[in-house]
């Protein structure tokens, strides 16, 4: 009996030891990475496969609605749909507005857009177009924040450096600020250099997600937030401490693919204090007052006179309303699918449209032929596109009606209710137009938003039609 027991114990022991060695075995470390290593090429020495793919985000492509085309210049969204020029009249987006392209272009595209070269912009723009963890921290130290760059990112000192630097850079002119950075989004922005774990580093997200946690809006797709809410709430929600790996696989993207305010009147913020739905964001903006006491708005429409809102790429918010998010499917699952390279399986760092690689992006979960999956996406997108056109027509109509009525001498006060409807309709239309999946991330929700946009737009027209000078 004693013999058998001994054998069993030994068997157990040896198997445990085997596990432990396996856990340590990772890839070959040639370079020591730390919080100061901004340059992805350095990281690439340890992780050449990920780096190669990362670099390939400079490859151009187009799908029916995605990508920027394979020409030298990104496709212009204004040329593709001239109604946008009317819709954005009086705003920088009416000058230059293109299809997004790969991550490799983000810094260059921002530096060269006419929205920057022809209009004054602040340093806030850099929040999402560059690797800026180090730049923010250095600037923060300059502004008097304690400690050095050697401190780990999750230390209180580093956090103070980051936030102080962020505030300071946001106040600079774009031209001054952009000199502080050299790389588009880099490894450091999403990874902890010590162990490659995912993390979020962008101040806007860190504050925004904490505000969302404070709100009561249900977040079934982000269970760690719901768990935090049940706790004592003494410390703010912190994704790097609280979120699961799967949640971080979306949150790292949510650092940038979100609606934001980054104009000159206040520091950049993500408007999530009431929740992630289109109405909740609208309501937060409507209650938000600028330092001068004026109600929040992005620009005054040149023809309609309305103080309107601008929506920007609310991918994270829209995804949050869809069935994939509820099912625990993350951005990285579709946009960075696993690929086998030789004997090893890694995440595809060539972030791009999943339609470029349907078999890896979709087929592990959906056992349908590639052509069928592509058709499913396109059916959803075609329906969205059609409704978006209808909403644009309604609002272009309303803008013209407001303009004519004003010219005909209808007093401003009488136009006000119709302008209010213009604001609502435009917000909803733009929310969909600025979102980059043409409805795929949340098909029914997107259609609902457009239906409301149409309704408000047409109701606005009805109001104006009834007015006499």
């Amino acid at each position: 009996a004693a013999a058998i027991a001994t054998i069993l114990v030994l068997a157990l022991y040896s198997s445990v030891m085997k596990r432990k060695t396996e856990a340590l075995q990772t890839s070959f470390r040639l370079v020591n990475l730390d919080e100061k290593t901004v340059d992805p090429a350095q990281w690439g020495k340890n992780f050449p496969r990920q780096f190669d793919a990362y670099q390939r985000t400079n490859e151009r492509y187009s799908t029916r609605y995605g990508g920027a085309g394979s020409e030298g210049m990104a496709k212009s969204r204004l040329e593709a749909d001239p109604r946008l020029v009317t819709l954005f009249d009086g705003y920088a987006f009416a000058i230059d507005f293109n299809q997004r392209q790969g991550h490799a272009y983000m810094l260059q595209d921002q530096r060269t857009t006419k929205r920057v070269t022809q209009k004054p912009q602040t340093g806030s723009c850099l929040h999402c177009h560059a690797s800026n963890t180090v730049a923010y921290r250095e600037e923060g130290i300059k502004q008097g924040a304690p400690g050095t760059l050697d401190e780990p990112f999750d230390s209180p000192n580093a956090r103070q450096q980051l936030m102080a630097g962020f505030e300071s850079v946001c106040k600079m002119s774009y031209q001054d600020a952009t000199k502080l950075v050299q790389h588009p989004v880099a490894c450091l922005d999403c990874h902890d250099p010590r162990n490659m774990q995912l993390r979020v580093t962008k101040p806007g997200f860190i504050r925004g997600i904490a505000a969302l946690a404070q709100s009561g809006d249900p977040t079934p797709h982000l269970p760690s937030i719901e768990k935090w809410r049940k706790g004592d709430r003494k410390e703010a929600y912190d994704a790097n401490r609280d979120a699961s790996r799967q949640e971080l696989r979306s949150m790292v993207c949510g650092q940038c693919h979100v609606e934001y305010y980054c104009g000159p009147k206040t520091t950049l913020f993500f408007p999530w204090n009431k929740g992630l739905k289109v109405e909740q964001i609208e309501s937060y903006y409507n209650e938000y007052k600028f330092p001068d006491g004026h109600r929040f708005f992005d620009w005054k429409h040149a023809k309609a006179g309305t103080e309107v809102l601008k929506a920007q790429h609310p991918e994270f918010e829209t995804w949050s309303q869809g069935i994939h998010a509820r099912s625990g499917v993350s951005c990285a699952d579709c946009h960075m699918p696993y690929v086998r390279e030789g004997a090893i399986k890694i995440s595809d760092h060539q972030v791009r449209s999943p339609l470029m690689d349907i078999s890896r992006s979709c087929q592990t979960c959906h056992r349908f032929p590639e052509a069928e999956l592509k058709t499913r996406v396109e059916i959803i997108q075609d329906r969205t596109y059609l409704l978006m056109g209808a909403a644009e027509n309604a609002i272009v109509g309303l803008i013209q009606d407001l303009d004519s009525a004003r010219r005909a001498g209808v007093p401003e006060a009488k136009l006000q209710p119709a302008m209010e409807l213009h604001r609502k309709a435009q917000w909803r239309l733009d929310y969909v137009n600025a979102e980059n999946s043409m409805g795929f991330h949340a098909p029914q929700e997107t259609a609902r938003i457009l239906a409301e946009s149409i309704d408000y737009g047409r109701q606005g027209q009805l109001l104006v039609k009834g007015l006499k000078p």
Partner: protein, 165 residues
């Protein structure tokens, strides 16, 4: 110190009751072919018709030729663990089958899902070394766990039993 009389009776009763329990349990276990658990042949799992669906699915699954039920559903880290899981599953399933009291569709339970995941890694650990080097995979379906463990199956649900829908 000598144990008192009542304690003796209690001890005897306890032993008798345990005996009955074990005896009847064993009998049920055997008659319901719970002993199937002791074999590696998938056919013995379907002795229990309730397992028919999974058996059929397994025959259509990609692993039909390379893995049997026990390769995936029993621990292979050490013998004690293996027989512990075998025994407790065997008893539990026999009981459920006999009383016909279980939730349908049948769902793998968290403990067995951990076993399953470990087996994926047993065969594919090298391939997935890079993606597991910095922690297990995780799905946010269970907020009580920071990252629960059924990571592979989230994408590869069909490997064991073929298309699910």
């Amino acid at each position: 110190m000598k144990p008192s009389q009542p304690l003796h009776v209690l001890a005897f009763l306890a032993v008798a009751l345990i005996g009955v329990l074990v005896g009847s349990g064993l009998f049920t276990f055997i008659s319901a072919e719970g002993a199937s658990y002791l074999s590696n042949d998938p056919k013995v799992c379907v002795n229990c018709h309730i397992m028919r669906e999974q058996f059929d699915g397994w025959q259509h699954g990609s692993h039909h030729a390379v893995a049997t039920c026990n390769d995936c559903h029993l621990p292979h880290d050490n013998v004690i663990h293996k027989f512990f899981v075998k025994g407790s599953n065997g008893f539990h399933h026999s009981e459920a089958f006999t009383t016909m009291n279980f939730h349908e569709p049948i769902r793998i339970k968290p403990g067995n899902a951990k076993v399953l995941e470990a087996n994926c890694l047993r065969c594919h650990g090298e391939l997935t070394g890079e993606i597991t080097a910095h922690g297990t995979l995780g799905v946010p379906t269970d907020p009580t766990q920071k990252a629960d463990l059924y990571g592979c199956v989230r994408c590869h649900q069909e490997v064991g039993h073929g298309p699910r829908r």
